[in-house]
């Protein structure tokens, strides 16, 4: 593995499978009376959040704390950043405090890359979502959820998602989740189809390793997992579709559409959900919807990422495959 996790595209198949396998063991810790491991004792993880986020921040915080790391939460609101401090000066401050890892969420695409490659800090940088670019740990927890549901908890160990057909529906243009998922799922051997109105498909999508369709009903019967993306109203500064009602008619998932999916297929949502918009309450509350499971899996997956990046003298080595666990 590389020293930082900036993009899902940086992960090889072996890296990704190692993270998923490690997450599976981490998930078992959650079933114990003492849900804590001493592994990252004495290490400091800084959550550097320039953009509002509740679930991702508390997920990373829970993950770091379960591994006994010290956690410092730094949010732009009410901090020196609101007084005009630059990313560089913030980074130098964190470095001076001895951060072993910086988990960064930023509204600007590329901020984590800049932080990792600037030489401002020595620690590992984990991208927790940058602009409309990437959100690699979300893609990892999605892949983890898919592998658990479609391949099996124990049967999935060591395996990827080859041959599985994953459909990602909605606001692909503004979605870092979609971008990270396309890269990671492709690395794991899955076939990805993006479904969105033409206005919400990014320019250059033809270079992505996936198919694009504008017709949800045609794709649903051949999907093993359907991932509904949130319509990001806060990023909608132009008219991407005529009305919300029309969007939800053509691209929303309701009970009738769900019935057209194969029996084993699951419905995923990275949250937060807009009930009635991209997903109806009927679907959101059904057994096939993994939204809540994804939150729990998020903690396990982030524990795995933090452990593999910080748990040794250097990040885990995946190639060549050694008898490391012996």
């Amino acid at each position: 593995m590389k020293r930082h996790l900036i993009s899902a595209a940086d992960l090889t198949r072996d890296d990704a499978v190692l993270i998923l396998d490690t997450a599976e063991e981490m998930a078992r810790v959650a079933d114990r009376p003492i849900k804590k491991l001493p592994t990252l004792r004495g290490r400091t993880v800084v959550n550097l959040f320039f953009e509002d986020s509740t679930r991702t921040r508390i997920s990373f915080e829970a993950a770091a704390k379960r591994l006994s790391a010290d956690v410092i939460n730094f949010s732009a609101k009410g901090s020196s950043v609101s007084k005009g401090e630059s990313l560089k000066d913030t980074a130098l401050t964190l470095e001076a405090m001895g951060a072993d890892a910086v988990v960064i969420r930023h509204h600007a695409s590329g901020a984590p890359y800049r932080l990792a490659n600037s030489g401002w800090i020595d620690g590992a940088v984990v991208n927790a979502g940058d602009g409309t670019h990437e959100h690699p740990t979300q893609a990892l927890l999605d892949a983890f959820t898919m592998r658990r549901r479609l391949v099996g908890r124990d049967a999935g160990l060591g395996k990827d998602l080859s041959g599985r057909r994953i459909t990602v529906v909605g606001d692909v243009l503004h979605s870092r989740v979609a971008r990270s998922n396309v890269h990671l799922l492709n690395t794991l051997g899955a076939e990805v189809t993006l479904v969105a109105p033409p206005t919400l498909v990014p320019v250059g999508v033809e270079t992505w390793p996936c198919e694009v369709s504008y017709d949800l009903d045609a794709v649903l019967p051949k999907s093993d997992a359907v991932m509904m993306l949130r319509v990001q109203r806060e990023r909608m500064n132009a008219a991407f579709f005529p009305t919300e009602r029309e969007y939800s008619r053509r691209y929303g998932l309701d009970g009738d559409r769900m019935a057209r999916m194969p029996e084993h297929a699951i419905v995923m949502h990275p949250g937060p959900m807009n009930r009635g918009m991209e997903i109806t309450a009927e679907v959101a509350d059904s057994d096939r919807c993994t939204a809540v499971e994804q939150v729990a899996n998020g903690v396990s997956t982030r524990m795995a990422v933090l452990y593999l990046l910080l748990g040794g003298s250097e990040p885990a080595v995946t190639t060549p495959r050694t008898e490391e666990s012996n």
């Binding site: 396998d21 063991e25 981490m26 804590k36 592994t39 748990g311 040794g312 990040p315 885990a316 666990s325």
Partner: protein, 199 residues
């Protein structure tokens, strides 16, 4: 144990290794340990065998089979991965994890017997004791090993030893088990280079 693995010899060193225990010896030794457990635990009703991955798990399962033959009752058996409790994590790249499987009845109030292939520095067992602490509170903890090669770095000893094997630090002890290596044997070899200090 850690160090013997950390320095596990390459193919060339293994070829020069000589067997000190063969398959029938290992079977005999495990049978004896099983009888010792029954004798000391006055039956084996509350025994939980926890193997330390990788080879300790196979040994624990074999011991459980033997105990079942002797006592006629079911024996709880599982595995305990100690990777995240090791004291040398920062000396090497992050390691892959192995499975921890605690039997359904838990370990509270039971007699836990840790099972490993080689007892060497004792650091693995120290880590295992820490790991147990997070899982429950056994009535007592004991240790069974196939080979005790000496050179302890911590005040730890085994309760059941298959074979005491006095070694020098320049020697390597390699346990092979059918489940993992296709054959049963314990090999004593020579290290290719001088041993690193400590672990």
């Amino acid at each position: 144990m850690d160090a013997h693995r950390d320095a596990s010899p390459g193919a060339s060193a293994t070829s020069a290794a000589r067997p000190v225990l063969e398959a029938p010896d290992i079977a005999r030794v495990l049978t004896r340990i099983a009888h010792e457990i029954v004798e000391r635990a006055k039956g084996a009703d509350d025994v939980v065998l926890l193997g330390i991955p990788t080879r300790g798990v196979f040994l624990a399962r074999r011991l459980a089979d033997k105990l079942q033959e002797i006592t006629g009752g079911a024996i709880a058996v599982g595995s305990l991965d100690i990777t995240m409790y090791r004291d040398d994590l920062r000396l090497r790249p992050a390691r892959a994890l192995a499975r921890t499987e605690i039997p359904g009845g838990g370990i509270d109030g039971r007699l836990v017997i840790l099972v490993d292939d080689v007892l060497f520095s004792g650091r693995t067992i120290r880590a295992a004791l820490d790991a147990l602490n997070d899982i429950g509170r056994p009535r007592a903890v004991q240790l069974a090993v196939l080979v005790d090669r000496g050179h302890r770095e911590l005040p730890i000893r085994a309760d059941y030893v298959g074979k005491n094997l006095p070694t020098s630090l320049r020697e390597t002890v390699k346990v092979q088990l059918t489940e993992e290596d296709g054959r049963d044997s314990v090999l004593l070899g020579m290290r290719a280079t001088a041993p690193a200090a400590g672990q």
